[in-house]
Symmetry: C2
Subunit: 134 residues, 2 copies
DNA sequence: AAAGAAATCAGTAATGATTATCATTTTTCA
DNA sequence: TGAAAAATGATAATCATTACTGATTTCTTT
């Protein structure tokens, strides 16, 4: 198997993700890292996102409006996703107690191995609501 | 505003989605409808998926392995998604009571309008587990 | 410290799902 | 029925992501 070598770029990518609560996509991360590494390639960002995700250092929040979004906060927490602008906001209230025991129920019912779960809320964020005052 | 005219193809697309529990993607639906409408275009499928979703007759389950997946069952229910093969399985156990009251908490905390939520479980399905006997 | 091996990278081409376009066909309703 | 509106087929365009390749960096073993 391939080992993992040190990479300053990978560290910068990870730092960029952890530096924000915007749950960025590859392009955002690329532009952020570019400040310190002007010659970085977008392909390098994508390649390292896969590696960081496999290592469990970041998680994917899925595809929102065509772009995959990432989070450096790997502790269990829920998100609100605005269906209008695509903004993703952390829900600080912890719902783990409500859900963690459900994993076992799903495993039993379906005969599968549940490794994670995700609770997301969808709707209109505050900015989009006032933007259309409704 | 534009009205919505009758369309036999749209009905067939909706029927195709409701005829299966596989939570299909556009390509699957296209091939299914093609049996009865050999000249249907893939673009028509995509166009009608948008319309059916806007009407609330189907829901999107998000992008799994690069393809958006759809469900004709719009009643609240959770899904298990296999991270290996992309299979999506309905969870029959109803968790609505665990979650519905959380919408309000999220609205209060973030000042947003929550319109829906989604609880998904991820892991390895029975087939993928035995396929790698582990 | 230096060399060879392995991993990472930049730059660029390729991929593939989805969307847009437009001329033609179908549906609606007066 | 016939004109206006909506839907469609065929195809081109878009755009996020992946694959490729030769150069560069990191690691290991002297």
């Amino acid at each position: 198997m391939n080992r993992t070598n040190y990479s300053a770029k990978r560290e910068a990518i990870y730092s960029a993700i952890c530096s924000t609560k915007t749950h960025p996509d590859a392009e955002w991360i690329y532009n952020k890292v570019k400040i310190d590494f002007p010659n970085i390639s977008l392909g390098t960002v994508y390649r390292n996102l896969v590696m960081l995700r496999n290592e469990g250092k970041i998680i994917s929040l899925g595809v929102v409006k065509g772009c995959e979004r990432f989070d450096g906060n790997v502790r269990e927490h829920s998100h609100f996703i605005c269906t209008e602008c695509g903004r993703i906001i952390d829900v600080s209230r912890n719902f783990a107690l409500h859900i963690s025991n459900l994993d076992e129920l799903v495993q039993k019912e379906l005969g599968v191995k549940v490794e994670s779960h995700d609770l997301a809320f969808y709707g209109k964020c505050d900015l989009c609501r006032e933007g259309q005052e409704k």
